[in-house]
């Protein structure tokens, strides 16, 4: 299932770390109310770590205690990251909206891969991260992924801060 384009340009560690460090508001497109779905796990985790979650799901009035919006355009505050949990072919339309609202980054989760969507976002000045999980990357660089034996691929002798 390898994509026909170079995905690694949308997986740059410095862009990922900057995004995680600078973001305050995250619109989660396709956030489910079902506590067992991956999107809920990620939304719950990010909220727990201090980000403001803005659910985008027209079928729900409220998720994770936050008002759920019908579309990105309805959100009244600045969106730092558009985090996408939708089928890959939904990405171009979401990317256009992300450009329209002046979002900082378009972050597509594992397997949410769409080249056209990435191009639309980039052309509109929106950073793109693709086929990466926001929870995993946060846990890798800031959180505690290393407590569960996962390969963070980090090597450093710099003393970290308190967790």
């Amino acid at each position: 299932m390898s994509p026909s384009f170079d995905l690694t340009r949308y997986q740059d560690p410095l862009t990922i770390q900057r995004t995680l460090h600078n973001a305050k508001t995250i619109a989660v497109v396709g956030l489910s109310k079902n506590e067992l779905r991956a999107s809920y796990f990620v939304g719950y985790y990010l909220k727990r770590h201090g980000y403001r979650i803005l659910p985008v799901n027209p079928r729900e009035p409220e998720i994770l205690g936050e008002k759920s919006w019908t579309s990105l355009r309805d959100i009244p505050v600045h969106v730092d990251v558009v985090n996408v949990f939708r089928a890959p072919d939904a990405v171009p339309a979401i990317a256009s909206e992300a450009v329209a609202i002046g979002a900082g980054s378009l972050w597509c989760q594992f397997t949410v891969i769409n080249e056209e969507g990435a191009r639309i976002a980039e052309a509109g000045g929106v950073n793109v991260i693709m086929d990466r999980c926001m929870k995993v990357e946060h846990a890798r660089y800031i959180g505690r992924m290393h407590w569960l034996g996962f390969n963070t691929q980090r090597i450093t002798s710099v003393r970290g801060g308190l967790q």
Partner: protein, 438 residues
């Protein structure tokens, strides 16, 4: 901010999995000898138990010292994660428990460590799992053994004790054609000599007791997951379907790449309980720091010992795949270009009696039932591990009455060969006294 540097194997064997401890700055890996962990608040505790947050709950399931060992092994093998166990056998049982259910079927190489054979033959049968043993060198045997209920292929990188080298890429291709995972026991090669994921294997196992530690002080094992296998292909409801043991959680859908590893820890380790102790993990980490150095030395010594035996009149049938005459030569070039490990066997001329005399003549090699130590080890299966078998049964098990298994250590190689000569001298003296008149 960290750049995406691809650090080398020798850097990772020293550093991977550990950052200087944030509270104290301790440079060595601290031994967190604790059973349990104080929660910040009830909400955090709930998040840990729901697997919504990475947090420590209880050392049967996770421990920060053990986690360093796990991540280091995952890094060295090139996997997405690892889970450590109290022994290699426990790791193997857990790897299989996580993906099998009653009525399933496994295809396994017959050239396995005896402890693995016992586990598969008896424990899997008790679980009502069927098993087909096949000759690992015969690719057609892997193909024809597949059934609708087959759930895994199993083999060893370097077979114990026959020295069979597994054609990992070819066997993985057959497995993947049938949407099955290939599980490889990489104990004899270690990730320094071979990384099975690079050739298509899906899960790698180790008895850490052997070369990973290298010091012979600790029993342990580890399962490493590549994270590449698609558990949602319809063949693995045990991994993919809602888990009744975790309030309906679908491990593969929710955790994706990390699904198998999460299930292995949060369910199988939690319920089987064979956790690695923090102290043992600390000792394995000390071993791993020198893995590449030790393995290079093991290989160098093993080559010298094997060629000494190859030219000795009392030794035959040397199973070292690194010998130029080995039938595994093309596979060795592909999978084990840095060397074929240090464990092999040979037949001592004169049968069962001669094997025992050979052992009696040794004063430096240790006579015991283990392999992969920095100390050179020797055992005569016919008088120990296979003692209950007669000569015909021994042959059926692939062990001759005079077979001697060696695990070549890191001592001065001249001393190792000197000691083997003492063994052969004793065999020769014993043979002379038997034929002497009166």
């Amino acid at each position: 901010m960290e750049e995406a540097r691809k650090f080398g194997f020798e850097t990772r064997q020293v550093h991977a999995g550990q950052r200087p401890e944030p509270n104290t700055g301790a440079r060595a890996v601290p031994i967190y000898q604790t059973t349990s962990y104080v929660f910040e608040d009830p909400e955090s505790a709930a998040a840990y138990f729901n697997l919504q947050e990475y947090g420590n709950t209880y050392s049967r399931i996770m421990n920060p010292t053990v986690a360093v060992f796990e991540e280091r092994m995952a890094s060295l093998e090139g996997g997405c994660g690892a889970v450590a166990f109290a022994s290699g056998i426990a790791a193997q049982a857990a790897a299989l428990f996580t993906l099998l259910q009653p009525g399933d079927h496994v295809v396994s190489s017959s050239a396995l460590y005896g402890g693995s054979v016992n586990q598969f033959k008896h424990m899997l049968r008790k679980m009502n799992v069927e098993l087909t043993w096949i000759d690992p060198d015969n690719l057609d045997a892997w193909k024809t053994a597949v059934r609708p209920n087959t759930k895994a292929f199993y083999g060893e990188t370097i077979g114990n004790p026959g020295g069979n080298v597994l054609d990992i890429a070819a066997v993985a291709a057959v497995a993947h054609e049938h949407e099955l995972p290939l599980i490889v026991d990489n104990t004899f090669a270690t990730p320094f000599l071979c990384r099975p994921f690079e050739f298509g294997a899906d899960i790698v196992l180790h008895s850490a007791t052997k070369f990973i530690g290298g010091h012979g002080t600790s029993i342990g094992g580890v399962v490493v997951d590549s994270g590449e296998f698609n558990w949602s292909n319809g063949r693995f409801p045990v991994v993919a379907d809602p888990s009744p043991a975790y309030h309906g959680l679908q491990f593969h859908e929710t955790f994706g790449t990390y699904g198998y590893c999460m299930k292995l820890r949060a369910e199988t380790l939690r319920d089987l309980g064979a956790a690695m102790s923090p102290f043992n993990a600390f000792l394995f980490l000390q071993g791993l720091e020198t893995l590449s150095l030790r393995m290079a030395r093991h290989v160098e010594n093993a080559k010298a010992v094997a060629s000494f035996l190859a030219s000795h009149e009392l030794a035959s049938n040397i199973t070292y795949p690194g010998l130029p005459t080995s039938r595994y030569r093309p596979l060795v070039d592909t999978y084990l270009p840095r060397g074929t490990g240090a464990i092999f066997s040979f037949d001592c001329r004169g049968g069962r009696e001669a094997g025992q005399e050979f052992i009696r003549g040794l004063t430096l090699w240790s006579h015991l039932a283990n392999v992969g130590d920095s100390k050179s080890l020797v055992i005569h299966p016919a008088s120990t591990t296979h003692r209950q078998l007669n000569d015909d049964e021994l042959r059926a098990a692939g062990v001759g009455p005079g077979t001697i298994r060696l695990s070549v250590g890191t001592e001065s190689v001249d001393d190792l060969i000197w000691d083997l000569e003492q063994g052969f001298a004793r065999v020769a003296a014993s043979a002379r006294s038997e034929v002497a008149p009166g």
